[in-house]
């Protein structure tokens, strides 16, 4: 309580002013090039503290930077000489220069797979890539965001790492906390896939299943943080959310670097809260601003499951606000009925000339199988959503198949076996004889 009270008082003192804690020497401060927190709605700036909502308007706070402009060649060389993980981009992240010396899972630098077989199936002629983030330490992109939040928690002296989660994040927090020697206590809806529950529990922290939906869990965490119980807690996606979100920028950086320092034409990204999509856009804009890539147009497409598609519905209706929905889909990692960054996703899709589309559960399962049989990549349901939406976007003429496209797989199919197990199994079960093999029609 004492810590949070002090943070709020400090914020009030400087609200409305531009503050910079890193002006003297950005590389020697705990937050590197980060200068302040800034409200996305009204622009009010705050010092770098564990706060997440604007005192003026409740708008979300995000990290504002003094980025190292003016020497793109030098910066590119420095990045390329860095480690094969997200810390190669430390000069663009709110972390200290010596971040590689800390106990962290060091996620990132996952494969960008040239998906020629899938491209042929879908009729994509401009080049198709899968950014396969199942290769992270806990097999989802969440390791990226948690790595940044963990460093912020360390700097703020927080001792418990926590989150509300649809599964992947709970595992990422549990693992990161175990590695860094933090206590962890994570909260999930009670009805998650077994793979995600086990994966979240195995790291030895506390895992609490809440009788309700993800939105109920989220509400509970938001209330818990205002309670004395929450003293010393870093909820990665609540009070550390401004820092946490920045981890998703590394997906944009990696794709550009892996393409030879250039931007693709289209990106198809899943939407849960919408944070990942907005931060990928932020990362792409930073790359252009820093001169690391040529300034060219790109289109961002958002992907949702039909059973929880508030952002897609708002996009199609031409609305700029997102009406919350009750969720009902197998894509549980995307089942956020009240997506915090939904309005910003709408802005980005419209600004870039992209779209937001959705597919039903049957199409999700078909897409998981399509990606698996064409590229040997077993995606979780969120990956089925993006591939399914990519197919639909092409079929409906919303995405140009002659343009270069990157589609995201953000998690491992082993976590969501339930989605495909009813329709996937042995081709035949036979006695161990050649005759039996022949009789089964397999010869």
């Amino acid at each position: 309580m004492r810590r949070k009270g002090l943070a709020i008082m400090a914020v009030q003192t400087v609200a409305g002013k531009s503050t910079s804690t890193s002006a003297e020497n950005p590389q020697e401060t705990p937050f590197g090039p980060a200068a302040a927190l800034s409200c996305r709605e009204c622009g009010t700036r705050y010092p770098l503290t564990p706060v997440f909502a604007c005192l003026e308007c409740f708008g979300p706070l995000e990290v504002a930077y003094d980025l190292p402009v003016g020497d793109p060649e030098g910066l590119r060389a420095r990045i390329e000489a860095g480690p094969a993980n997200i810390w190669r981009y430390a000069p663009l992240l709110p972390v200290p220069a010596d971040v590689t010396q800390k106990q962290n899972l060091n996620p990132g630098w996952t494969k960008l797979v040239k998906a020629d077989n899938l491209a042929r199936e879908l009729g994509v002629t401009g080049g198709l890539y899968v950014k396969d983030d199942s290769g992270n330490p806990t097999h989802s992109f969440k390791d990226r965001v948690v790595a940044i939040a963990l460093e912020a928690a360390r700097t703020f002296g927080l001792t418990t790492l926590s989150c509300s989660s649809t599964g992947n994040l709970a595992g990422a927090v549990g693992a990161a906390a175990a590695r860094a020697g933090f206590r962890s206590c994570v909260f999930i809806p009670h009805d998650l896939e077994e793979g995600k529950v086990v994966m979240a529990a195995v790291y030895g922290g506390e895992l609490v299943a809440i009788e309700g939906s993800y939105d109920d869990v989220n509400r509970f965490c938001s209330e818990l943080i205002g309670d004395p119980i929450g003293e010393g807690w870093g909820f990665v996606n609540v009070n550390l959310r401004p820092y946490y979100g920045e981890g998703s920028k590394t997906l944009a950086y990696e794709i550009a670097e892996q393409l030879g320092w250039r931007l693709p034409d289209n990106l198809v990204i899943p939407i849960a809260s919408g944070s990942q999509l907005t931060k990928i856009d932020k990362g792409l804009q930073e790359l252009i601003k820093l001169g690391l890539v040529e300034d060219k147009p790109y289109k961002i497409f958002g992907a949702q499951a039909e059973g929880c598609s508030p952002v897609s519905a708002a996009f199609k209706a031409g609305h700029d606000v997102v009406r919350p929905v009750k969720r009902d889909t197998i894509a549980k990692s995307l089942a956020i009925g009240n997506p915090a960054d939904g309005p910003y996703v709408l802005d980005i899709a419209r600004r870039t000339g992209g779209a937001v589309e959705d597919v039903n559960d049957e199409q999700v399962v078909d897409a998981i199988k399509l990606l698996a049989r064409t590229e040997g990549i077993f995606a979780e349901t969120a990956g089925g959503v993006t591939v399914g939406v990519l197919k639909k976007l092409i079929e409906t003429g919303q995405l140009d198949p002659a343009a270069e496209t990157v589609v995201f797989n953000t998690g491992d199919g082993l976590k969501t076996l339930d989605a495909v197990s009813p329709t996937t199994g042995p081709t035949a079960t036979i006695r161990p004889t050649v005759a039996a093999f022949r009789e089964a029609g397999l010869a």
Partner: protein
Amino acid sequence: MSASVRIPTILRTYTGGQAEVPAEGDTLAAVIESLEKNHAGISARVLDETGKLRRFVNVYVNDDDVRFSEGLATAVPDGASVSIIPAVAGG
């Protein structure tokens, strides 16, 4: 009609640090008006210039998100618990 209103950390400067305060009113709009009488300035933080709920504020009457019901016109039964929560968490 009396309700108990749970105040998020960022609004507790208006309630003298109290996490929960009483308010009167049979609709959410009336409850917010009552809050404003006792804690001047709080209304402008929850409502925008046009008098609507700010888009990054979630309000629950008991366990129900008012966006699923009648918004500011949502009925607040006697003894209800009203929660004001920043919407930017999660994901």
